[in-house]
Symmetry: C2
């Protein structure tokens, strides 16, 4: 079943939060895989549809390929798959006829939103158990952790 990462338990000598973050990363990666499986789509295609469904309808293949970290050529394949599956339509941009707008279909938007909501509702529910002061600390911690990961990513070797 597991379709993604799965990290080993780190070898002691780190903070409990650090272990917890690694477990969290693994769990969230597995959830992404589960989401894709449930929608019977490739993980890349789900990511693409998430962006498209949240866009203003003017998102094009080039911009999207950059966001997903794949080449424009690969993006053509992704869009081909999504269009064939009836999840979106290509529409020529009227003002710049080089551009293509990726317009999600009604059904695709509601399916993406619906499936995502199952996850996001679960996450929303977590906050009920915490006081406002605790929630403030949690939010600060999550932001700092995100920044720490980002710092590691952009760290020069």
């Amino acid at each position: 079943m597991a379709s993604t990462p799965a990290q080993p338990v780190p070898a002691r000598a780190h903070e409990p939060e650090t272990w917890a973050l690694r477990a969290l990363s693994t769990a969230s990666a597995e959830a992404s895989g589960a989401l894709a499986r449930r929608m019977r789509m490739h993980p890349t295609d789900v990511s693409a549809m998430s962006h498209i469904a949240a866009s203003d309808g003017r998102l094009g293949p080039r911009e999207l390929s950059g966001r997903l970290g794949i080449t424009p050529a690969a993006m053509t394949d992704v869009v081909d798959r999504l269009e064939a599956a009836g999840h979106l339509q290509r529409r020529r941009d009227t003002t710049d006829r080089r551009r293509v707008c990726l317009v999600p279909t009604e059904s695709a938007v509601s399916e993406v939103r619906g499936q995502l909501r199952r996850l996001l509702d679960r996450l929303d529910a977590l906050t009920e158990e915490f006081t406002p002061a605790e929630r403030d600390a949690i939010q600060r911690y999550l932001a700092a952790a995100t920044e720490a990961y980002h710092g590691f990513t952009t760290e020069d070797d």
Copy 2:
């Protein structure tokens, strides 16, 4: 640069922590990619080495393929690559000669540990900014969030 996920900003109507978790997931996925790139290895191979480096030296291909969510046949390819790169050795188990033990080389262990430490140290450092009570809340939240992701993953459709 971006080699992984990258989620869109969710469309409102959710808790700040929920948005923060999605940003965190994206950031951690990108960090995993950066880790692999820095070690000049495939993401799968890095995951494999993480498990092997943290093992008791008796970890075999079948068990590891299960942990990584790939088939045993694919695992053979992974082990071939890692062995060719000098990161591990295959050793026949003496008590059950069907089994192969994946023994990491000295250099591989120190490289994996060294690179991982750069990340884990960053994460450890985060905790300094919080009080013990806040840290307790953070730890509870992280555990609950992990469980929420896991619940979503195993949710029957």
